[in-house]
């Protein structure tokens, strides 16, 4: 029950109660007078008075109650309107627009004070979020220098003629790990910059179907060692306004994902269709898929599905997060669908140019 309903209810109960009390008092008064007159034998006049009184009461108390209720309803509405406005404004707040402040009435009442406190709170949250972003950005930047040095030192040692074959093997394996760490740091840097709005897309009209065909060739090569078949089921001509590099990155990410999480001898299906004002891209694979309860988390950073089963799958765990960022940055949508014994599908919808 809203405060407004509650206030209105209380108000009408009080109003009706008071009115009833007034009527009861009037009736009691009338009754006493009537009794006294009865004693004095002047019945006729008093009867007339009592009827008048009821009439008067009906014609004055009822409109008074109705008007009173209407007035009360209007008053609570007016008094609580800023609360509704505040609620609506607060609903629109999420982590990306924390810097926006709610408009204040400036009249210094309780609600104005509440808005002020609320704004101060979002400002503090904004500060915290920004500090986290800056921290990750600095951390990923700072990690690059030691990585460069490590890589350089290891490589120098690798080419040292005095190193034995076993030592060289160990060194090469360490370099591989550095490469992996570098990939993670690169992915994190990209995502943190995207979070901070520091990456500008260079959008131009692009033929998405051509990009899809191009990435299909790469997907076929990526899939060949595991005998995975790659098919293009449908390819409508579709022009979107997009950043060429980012869209190629997206397609390669999704293709790589479909191959990595597939079973040997499986299938990867691409399809691109025009759907109203959107280009609908679907990439499906015949892999084991992901349990329903874990599906909402596939776009999370470092999410790896069932970790114990996916140890063999190489990757930095940021691929789908990056894919999601690229799609959102192009004002599109990305969905993940998976069910046991069915195709696992990633669907992307991008607005047509």
């Amino acid at each position: 029950m809203t405060i407004r309903t509650r206030l209105n209810l209380w108000y009408s109960i009080i109003l009706c109660g008071v009115a009833l009390a007034v009527v009861a008092a009037a009736c009691y008064h009338e009754f006493v007078i009537e009794k006294r007159h009865h004693h004095h034998g002047m019945k006729s006049e008093s009867e007339l008075d009592s009827e008048d009184l009821i009439d008067i009461l009906t014609w004055t108390v009822t409109p008074a109650i109705v008007l009173g209720l209407a007035g009360g309803w209007w008053l609570t509405r007016k008094a609580l309107a800023p609360v509704s406005a505040l609620t609506q404004a607060a609903e629109k707040i999420h982590e990306r627009n924390l810097s926006e402040q709610l408009p204040r009435s400036g009249n210094g009442d309780e609600l104005d004070r509440l808005t002020e406190v609320f704004n101060a709170m979002t400002a503090r949250l904004d500060g915290s979020f920004q500090r986290i972003r800056e921290f990750t950005l600095h951390a990923s930047h700072e990690l690059k220098t030691p990585l460069t040095i490590l890589r350089g030192e290891l490589e120098t040692a690798l080419h040292d003629e005095h190193s034995s074959a076993a030592q060289k093997d160990r060194l090469a394996s360490q370099i591989d790990e550095i490469e992996r760490l570098t990939k993670i740091v690169d992915g994190l840097t990209l995502l943190t910059k995207a979070d901070a709005g520091q990456i500008a897309l260079k959008c131009e009209p692009l033929r998405l179907d051509e990009l899809v065909r191009e990435s299909l060739a790469d997907a076929k090569i990526l899939a060949s060692p595991q005998n995975i078949e790659v098919r293009l089921d449908h390819c409508d001509e579709a022009t979107v306004a997009g950043d060429r590099h980012r869209l190629r990155q997206l397609l390669l990410n999704l293709a790589d994902n479909a191959v990595k999480y597939n079973r040997p001898g499986g299938t990867v299906k691409f399809s691109l269709q025009r759907d109203g004002k959107f280009a609908a891209l679907k990439i499906s694979n015949t892999g084991a898929g992901i349990a329903a309860e874990l599906q909402p988390r596939v776009f999370e950073r470092f999410f790896r599905g069932d970790a114990s089963h996916n140890n063999a799958v190489e990757g930095c765990g940021l691929g789908l997060s990056i894919a999601q960022w690229i799609v959102t940055a192009h004002r599109g949508e990305i969905y993940f669908a998976s069910a046991p014994d069915q195709l696992t599908t990633l669907s992307v919808r991008l607005p047509l140019a």
Binding site: G152, L158, I175, L190, I221, D256
Partner: protein, 222 residues
């Protein structure tokens, strides 16, 4: 060949110096941007390896100033990987080449050597390494009288490797030059393509031309 290395990170500067010196370069190291500008103005270097993040004056501004002064010394720019803007800005500012960090030293050395040959790059239409030849016009490759069919991507990969024959090519530079990707695709795309290419040009032939340099990349040499 005398090279100026502008890098404020002591350890990085040290192994770059060592690697270049072991390949016969004379190396000067300078840790600050403003000092590098003075050094480049007074000494005729054959090449400059320039980091972007520098104290005193950042690498891009040093480069712009050099070019504004009419200094044409070839410059290899070092920057954080994946910074597309830095790369574009760097090339616009007049850099001759660009290498993302963390880089493969062997590749840095190869590129510095290439700086000296700039402009003299082979324009030949038929590339040859040992008995392998690639016609860049008909896109046909042959070895020992046997012809191979190459996909468009395989052709670009082979062309890149043959044009840099004898030089080590890191995975990132293959990705950049052959796929034109500015990002690390996080896949083993290069390795799979190289494997397929190797099946075509090396299977049944001796010596094996396309060699893996562990932890670094690939090299095509006789």
């Amino acid at each position: 060949m005398r090279v100026l290395v502008v890098e404020d990170e002591k350890k990085t500067a040290s192994f770059v110096r060592k690697a270049l010196e072991s390949e016969g370069f004379a190396v000067d190291v300078c840790p600050r941007g403003d000092e590098a500008l003075i050094a480049a103005g007074t000494t005729p270097f054959d090449g400059i390896v320039l980091d972007i993040m520098l104290p005193g004056r950042d690498g891009l501004s040093v480069l712009r100033q050099l070019r504004a002064q009419g200094n044409r010394t070839p410059v290899l720019l070092l920057s954080a990987r994946g910074e597309v803007n830095e790369r574009v800005e760097g090339l616009d500012a007049g850099a001759d080449d660009y290498l993302p960090k963390p880089f493969v030293i062997a590749e840095l050395v190869a590129r510095v050597r290439a700086l000296g040959r700039r402009g003299g790059e082979s324009k030949a239409t038929v590339l040859c390494v040992a008995d392998l030849s690639l016609d860049t016009i008909s896109h046909r490759a042959q070895r020992g009288g046997k012809f191979f069919d190459l996909t468009a991507r395989e052709f670009r990969l082979l062309e890149f490797l043959m044009r840099s024959a004898g030089r080590i090519c890191g995975r990132m530079s293959i990705i950049e030059k052959v796929w034109d990707y500015d990002f690390d695709p996080g896949t083993n795309l290069v390795d799979v393509y190289v494997k397929r290419l190797r099946e075509k040009i090396d299977d049944g032939f001796e010596p094996k031309l396309l060699q893996t340099v562990r932890g670094v990349g690939y090299v095509l040499k006789a």
